[in-house]
Every structure is written in structure tokens, then in C-alpha cells.
């Protein structure tokens, strides 16, 4: 499986986004139904797309390396990966961006597997046209994506446990034994809950307290 490389002339204006697009074959999972090269080619024509390639396995180590190399070489500032569901690999590719020094939220995925190749197996033409649209939509969206920062706030490492039955007791002990302070609130004069009222308990038939 040869990967096509379609490199556009780099636009001079610095404020223009520099988008890289990777159309993943996922072995045959996508490529068997969707003409990945055609998708990469039509995408290359879209404005702001600097690189558009089809690629064997985007998520694999070499696949990610190739994307990272491109980010450096073509000074890409955002990446579209057209592959499987973002519910599967969005964290993978966000990490990849991060390790390339890009904000992880400058990623967009187009779902060409679960929502395209796998569900239109008998209609390669329809699936390919759909894939082209999905990638085009991703490109139009990624142009406008903004870097986002996760904020961190200080946290109080203590837990309030409401109710001192067997569940509250176990949670309190587990937390406390792990080094966390616990505030255990019980409305009755003693902890124990219902279990304290039982004698033998199933399934072990031993006593409860």
C-alpha cells in the first residue's frame, strides 16, 4: 500500500491555518470500501490544506511518526485524521499532537470506518463520496478550532462520606487507609446501619459485625 503524498505550495500568510489531512486505510477495513487515495486527492484541493495523504494505519507507531514528521517539516498547526471513530482514538491522536508541540484540541477526526466503510460495504462509490464529504466537513471545522487549555484548580484531598452503614464504613476505611482524610457523617448515635442488626448473614452464614 503506497501512500500518496500531495504537498501544496505553502501559503505565505502566517495567520492562515496549516492543515494536514491523513486518510487512514485501517488495513482493509476502510480501504476495501472507500477509495482513500481519491479522498486524499480531493481534500488536497481544499484551501488551507498543506498536506493530504492516505496512510496505512494512522494509529500505529510508524503512522504517528509520519504525521509527526510532517508536522515538523510542513509546519502544520492542525491535523485532521480520517479514520475510525473519535470515541476510539481521539485520545491517541490528541496525545500525538501534544508530543509534537501542538495544542491537543487542534485535532479533528472524520469517522470513515464505523460510520462509513463498515456500513456501506456494498456501495464503494457512495461510501467514497460520503468520505469525501466527511473529510471536507472536518477541514471546514478544523480551520476554526481554537487551542483550549485545561485549567487546574487546587483540590482538597478529603472525602465526605454520608451514611455509616457497611457501605459508608468500607468506603471510609479504604480512603483513610490510602492516606486520605475522611469525614464520616452518621445521623444515628452509632454507625453500623442495618448490618448491625443482623445476626448471621448469607452467603457465608457468619456473623455480621
Amino acid at each position: 500500500m503506497e501512500a500518496t503524498v500531495l504537498v501544496k505550495e505553502t501559503e505565505p500568510a502566517a495567520e492562515n491555518p496549516r492543515i494536514g489531512v491523513y486518510v487512514c486505510h485501517c488495513g482493509l477495513n476502510i480501504a476495501q470500501t472507500v477509495d482513500c487515495r481519491r479522498v486524499a486527492e480531493s481534500t488536497a484541493l481544499l484551501s488551507d490544506v498543506i498536506v493530504s495523504k492516505d496512510i496505512g494505519y494512522a494509529c500505529s507507531e510508524p503512522g504517528q511518526q509520519q504525521i509527526k514528521d510532517d508536522i515538523r517539516e510542513y509546519e502544520l498547526d492542525r491535523v485532521v485524521v480520517a479514520s475510525c471513530s473519535p470515541r476510539l482514538h481521539e485520545p491517541t491522536f490528541r496525545q500525538m499532537l501534544q508530543s509534537s508541540g501542538l495544542n491537543p484540541y487542534l485535532l479533528e477526526m472524520a469517522n470513515l470506518r464505523e460510520q462509513c466503510s463498515w456500513v456501506h460495504m456494498k456501495d464503494p462509490e457512495g461510501a467514497t463520496r460520503k468520505a469525501q464529504d466527511l473529510v471536507k466537513m472536518a477541514v471546514s471545522r478544523i480551520r476554526l478550532l481554537q487551542p483550549l487549555q485545561e485549567d487546574t484548580l487546587p483540590l482538597t484531598p478529603r472525602t465526605l462520606v454520608i451514611g455509616g452503614g457497611v457501605a459508608g464504613i468500607q468506603a471510609a476505611l479504604d480512603l483513610a487507609d490510602n492516606g486520605y482524610d475522611v469525614v464520616l457523617v452518621e445521623k444515628r448515635p452509632t454507625i453500623g446501619g442495618v448490618m448491625a442488626q443482623l445476626d448471621k448473614t448469607f452467603p457465608t452464614m457468619d456473623c455480621s459485625i
Binding site: 470515541r87 484540541y105 469517522n111 470506518r113 464505523e114 460510520q115 463498515w118 456501506h120 460520503k130 464529504d133 471545522r141 480551520r143 476554526l144 483550549l148 485545561e150 485549567d151 484548580l153 487546587p154 483540590l155 482538597t156 484531598p157 478529603r158 472525602t159 465526605l160 462520606v161 454520608i162 451514611g163 455509616g164 452503614g165 457497611v166 457501605a167 459508608g168 464504613i169 468506603a171 471510609a172 476505611l173 479504604d174 480512603l175 490510602n178 482524610d181 475522611v182 469525614v183 464520616l184 457523617v185 445521623k187 444515628r188 448515635p189 452509632t190 454507625i191 453500623g192 442495618v194 448490618m195 448491625a196 442488626q197 445476626d199 448471621k200 452467603p203 457465608t204 452464614m205 459485625i209
Partner: protein, 593 residues
């Protein structure tokens, strides 16, 4: 239990209730009301001299009134803290001091009538709700005669009777003649599995509790005749079937059918009429004693806590978890976890398992010492905000505050915002930007999709958690459907702004689908209620404008409903085919004018 009392990291407040919770994950400010015990908890050695002299005798709650206690008492010998307590409503000596016998009896001077209720404020990063269960009160099931016939007892009372530390020293005695019963019956599902009285759910533990009780009875009194009246015996857990088999082998008679009526005989025994559904015959059984296997209901404080913490309840009244399979101990409110019967009826093993899971989830949240906020949150454009308050009204997390009277712009608490985007969709002034799912970003997707061959395409909005996942599931299951649909993913269907729909139609979309989690399953508590309302509103406007409302469809598709997703896609395609070029052109004309 004693480990809790001793643990240096656990602060235990008994006789206490949480009265208010403010703040958010990472830093909740909790107000606790601690009622006065009137006995110094630390000094009391539980010697019991005080109770000996107390003249007030009252039924003992711990033994469900099967024995008595004094106004100053210890709930039970192993109680933690191991300190006496005064029920001040019953005490004679309080204000003005007229009795105070106990004060004299206490050498250590632990008793203090001047103690008052305290309010305590604590800051915590996470909360575990483990408020447990209450048993069903069977008096409303009058046909079983509970309280009318003394020899009808509840399963919890039976637990106290057979308990070696209980009021009878572990002897099961008939309340009327204090003799061991020769025959005893158990009625299952009391307050469970009934649409009319009690809960409609199975209480999960009562079958096994009865099996356990029969084994204990057979051990103590091999000759006793035992009958169990049941709908079906649910012995599903590890080792449960063995116990059930053992019980049957010991001669316990299991009889399928719940009693219709219970009457009292001359010897104060009970006459139980029951239709045996295995044989279809009406039977009458004479029994010395009858035990009602009580179902569970949620703790009475459940609703108050639900409101205080912004939690959800199932229709049964137990706390609702964030996801029944993947987040079974998380509340949808970040930083709150459930353990034990507060979440659903369960046995001790499951309660303990869930408690450990809740602890682990809380530790996972806290171990970094800081909390990362989700960056996909909404943001107010203060200049555009007219302080109408709509966003605050629709936010399922109460994460937005607006002072409508003073007209100060809305403020989003990003720590509390979960990122559904409903506020951005509902704001009439476009004063809210939903990060990562901005109007512009989504409208550009709509444009990219429809600028060519719009007639051929189905525009679909799908929420990340349910319908988009359902579409993925259709893929994983290789379900085939027409390739005309293009999905735009939003986190929640609540994000789908009216203008996305209008813009879609204006760009020539033949049909549009809005899809989300089923009502009640929304990942953002109930944000999809707003989706429903919004779509209804758009439908009305469409009708008014002369655009066929059927061209906008709303479907609820869960993450597990791949089949349903594929069916909906086929239906959308059929709808699309009915829309002619002329109709589209007419709509475009209406909307561009």
C-alpha cells in the same frame, strides 16, 4: 466498625446530618448539624451505671420495640462510638433539672445537660453518598395482619429474635406465648415487585435472607415446620443456589403463591389462605408464626440530598448513576459517588464492592492534588449578554449564575460546567460561546456538507454519548444502511441550535435529523428535554412557514441501539427521496427572503 472509631484519618460525626453543600468538585463546603449527645463521647466508658438508675423506660428501636431501654442508653454493645446517649425528648431531668439521677451515677461526670447542637463546616474534595436503605412498612398491606396479629412479624424483627445478642438471647419465641413456634411461614416480596404497594422492583436480598433464616431455624429447631410463600426464588449470586438447595433438602417447603388473606386462629396461630400457582389449588395453612420478608426502599433523606447535591433519582427513588454499565458508582455530578443500597437494593457483598469502587474513584479524582477542569465549557460574551437568565434556567448543573434583577451579565462556573452546550443553543442573544462546538464551527460543517448536491444528503446531528455511539455500534455490527447521511457530532443534542436547522434548510437540505439519548438517559442530566422543546418549537414554525415539519426528525437512539440507528437511517433516506427539487427550492426561497 471499631476500626472507624480508631482511625486517625477518620473524623466521625454521629447524630449528625449534612444540612447544606456549596461549591463544586474539588472543593465542596459542607455544613453539618451535630445534635447534642448530652454525654461526653470521649470520656464515657459505657459502664452503664447511668442507665441502671434512669426511671424512664421506652421501647428499644434497635430491637424494633421487642425490648426496652432507658432514656439514657447505648444502642447496642458494639456501638461506635461506644458512648451512651440521652434521648432528650424522653429525659425528665432536662431543663429544669428535676431528675438528674444519671448525673449522680456517673463517676466520671460525663453527662452534661447543657450541651447544645453544633454546626460544623468542613471542606472536602469529593463526596460518597452511602445513605443506605429503609425497610418497607407492611402495615398498609392489611391482608397480612401485621400489627393486628402479634404473631405476624417482619424479617427485621425476626433477625433480632434469632440474634444471640437480641432481646430473646437468640431464642425464636412467639410474641404471644413466648414459646418456640412449631410451624413458621415466610411471605416473600412484601413491599417489592408490586405496582400497587411498595416498590415495583425486586429488593434483591429478601429471598436469600429468607433462605438464610430457614437454615438458621433448622439448625436451632430441627423439628420446626417451615413454609415459604413466594413468586419465584431469586438465588442468583455466588453460592446462593447451594444455600437454597440445602434449605430444600432440610425439608423447608417452598410454595409458589403469595397469601391472599391471613386470619388469626383461636390459639393465636395464623390461618393463611393462598392460591398455589403450581397446582392451581386454593390452600389453607395453619402456622404458629408468620414472617414478612420486607423489601427495601431508599433512605428517607434521599430526596433532600438529591436536591442539595444536584443528583438524580431513578423512578424507584434510588440514586441514579452516571452510566449503568461503565460508571456504576459515579454520580453525574462530578466528585460525587455512590455506595451501597443508596444506589439500589443489594446485599452486603455488593455494598462493600461498590464502596471500594467508590473509594477508588474518589482517589482517582483526588490523587493529583489538583483538579483539571474540562476545557470544553461554555463562555459568556459579557457585552452581548442581556441578563435574561435563560442560560441559568436551562443549565442542568446550575453552573451559570445571572442576576436578572441587577442585570449583571451571566457568569459560567467552569468547574461545574460539563459542556453540554444547551445554554449556547438557548441564549436568544448569542451571548454564549460553547468552546470547541461554536456556532461558527458547526455552521461551517453544515455549509461544507450542503454547498454541493444538497438534495442527495441527509444532515444528521448526533450526541456524542448515545446516538453517535449508536451509529458506531451499527458500524461495529456491520449493519448496512444508505450512504447519504452525514453526521455532525455534538456533545449533547441540547447543543443543536435552532439556527443550525434553519441554516441547513436554507442551504437546501432535504431532511434533517436531530438525535440524542433517550429521555431520562441524557448524559447531561436532562438537557435533552430542551432539545425536545426546541424541536417542537421549530416544527411549529416550519408549519407556519409552509415547510413540511416531517422534514425535521427527532429520534432518541441509545449507544446500544445500533439496529435502531440503521433503521432510522433507512427511514431518513425514504423521507429524503420524497422531497423534490421544487420543494427544496421553495424552502430555500422562503428562508432567504
Amino acid at each position: 466498625m471499631t476500626d472507624v472509631g480508631r482511625h486517625p484519618r477518620i473524623t466521625l460525626y454521629t447524630l449528625s446530618e449534612v444540612v447544606d453543600v456549596k461549591g463544586y468538585v474539588g472543593n465542596f463546603d459542607v455544613r453539618i448539624l451535630k445534635k447534642a449527645r448530652y454525654v461526653n463521647e470521649k470520656e464515657c466508658t459505657a459502664c452503664g451505671e447511668c442507665a441502671k438508675v434512669c426511671p424512664v423506660v421506652r421501647p428499644d428501636e434497635f430491637n424494633l420495640g421487642l425490648s426496652s431501654r432507658r432514656a439514657i442508653f447505648s444502642p447496642f454493645p458494639q456501638a461506635v462510638p461506644s458512648a451512651y446517649v440521652i434521648n432528650i425528648a424522653e429525659c425528665l431531668g432536662h431543663n429544669p433539672v428535676v431528675c438528674a439521677k444519671c448525673v449522680e451515677a456517673c463517676d466520671k461526670g460525663c453527662i452534661n445537660f447543657h450541651m447544645s447542637d453544633e454546626e460544623i463546616v468542613e471542606t472536602v474534595g469529593s463526596i460518597v453518598v452511602a445513605t443506605g436503605l429503609e425497610v418497607y412498612d407492611p402495615t398498609e398491606m392489611d391482608e397480612y395482619g401485621y400489627t393486628r396479629f402479634p404473631n405476624v412479624v417482619t424479617s427485621l424483627e425476626f433477625e433480632r429474635l434469632i440474634n444471640a445478642g437480641g432481646p430473646t438471647g437468640g431464642e425464636v419465641l412467639r410474641p404471644t406465648d413466648r414459646k418456640p413456634p412449631r410451624s413458621i411461614g415466610f411471605v416473600q416480596c412484601v413491599g417489592s415487585r408490586s405496582a400497587k404497594r411498595g416498590g415495583s422492583y425486586c429488593s434483591n436480598i429478601c429471598c436469600m435472607n429468607t433462605v438464610k433464616s430457614t437454615l438458621m431455624l433448622k439448625e436451632h429447631y430441627p423439628g420446626v415446620d417451615i413454609k415459604v410463600f413466594y413468586i419465584d426464588i431469586r438465588a442468583f449470586g455466588k453460592g446462593f443456589e447451594d444455600l437454597y438447595t440445602r434449605s430444600r433438602r432440610l425439608g423447608v417447603h417452598y410454595l409458589r403463591g403469595l397469601p391472599g388473606t391471613v386470619a388469626e386462629g383461636p390459639d393465636r396461630g395464623l390461618i393463611v389462605s393462598v392460591e398455589n400457582t403450581a397446582t392451581g389449588k386454593l390452600e389453607t395453612h395453619h402456622l404458629d408464626m408468620l414472617v414478612l420478608a420486607l423489601g427495601m426502599k431508599p433512605a428517607s433523606s434521599t430526596q433532600r440530598l438529591q436536591e442539595m447535591l444536584g443528583l438524580q433519582l431513578t423512578p424507584d427513588g434510588f440514586f441514579l448513576e452516571a452510566h449503568p454499565k461503565l460508571q456504576p458508582v459515579d454520580a453525574a455530578t462530578r466528585g460525587v459517588f455512590y455506595a451501597g443500597c443508596a444506589e439500589s437494593p443489594k446485599d452486603i457483598k455488593e455494598s462493600v464492592t461498590q464502596a471500594s469502587a467508590a473509594a477508588a474513584r474518589a482517589i482517582r479524582l483526588m490523587h493529583k492534588g489538583e483538579i483539571t477542569t474540562e476545557p470544553i465549557t461554555s463562555m459568556v460574551v459579557a457585552e452581548a449578554c442581556k441578563s435574561c437568565g435563560k442560560c441559568a434556567e436551562v443549565c442542568p448543573y446550575n453552573a451559570i449564575s445571572v442576576d436578572v434583577k441587577r442585570k449583571t451579565p451571566a457568569v459560567v462556573n467552569t468547574a461545574a460546567c460539563a459542556g453540554c452546550g444547551t445554554c449556547a443553543a438557548e441564549c436568544p442573544f448569542d451571548a454564549i460561546v460553547m468552546n470547541h462546538f461554536t456556532d461558527d464551527q458547526i455552521l461551517h460543517q453544515v455549509h461544507a456538507l450542503l454547498e454541493e448536491d444538497s438534495k442527495e444528503k441527509v444532515l444528521a446531528f448526533a450526541c456524542n454519548w448515545c446516538s453517535y455511539a449508536g451509529a458506531d455500534f451499527a458500524g461495529v455490527s456491520r449493519l448496512q444502511y444508505p450512504p447519504n447521511v452525514r453526521i455532525i457530532r455534538t456533545m449533547c443534542s441540547g447543543r443543536v441550535d435552532e439556527k443550525f436547522v434553519w441554516e441547513g434548510f436554507r442551504m437546501g437540505a432535504p431532511v434533517i435529523l436531530v438525535s440524542g439519548c433517550h429521555i431520562g438517559d441524557c448524559h447531561y442530566i436532562d438537557a435533552n428535554h430542551w432539545t425536545e422543546k426546541r424541536v417542537a418549537k421549530i416544527h411549529k414554525k416550519m408549519a407556519k412557514l409552509g415547510i413540511r415539519p416531517e422534514r425535521l426528525q427527532l429520534e432518541w437512539i441509545s449507544a446500544a441501539e445500533g439496529v435502531r440507528f440503521a433503521e432510522v437511517m433507512k427511514r431518513m433516506e425514504a423521507l429524503r427521496e420524497q422531497v423534490s427539487f421544487d420543494e427544496i427550492a421553495e424552502t430555500v426561497r422562503i428562508l432567504t427572503e
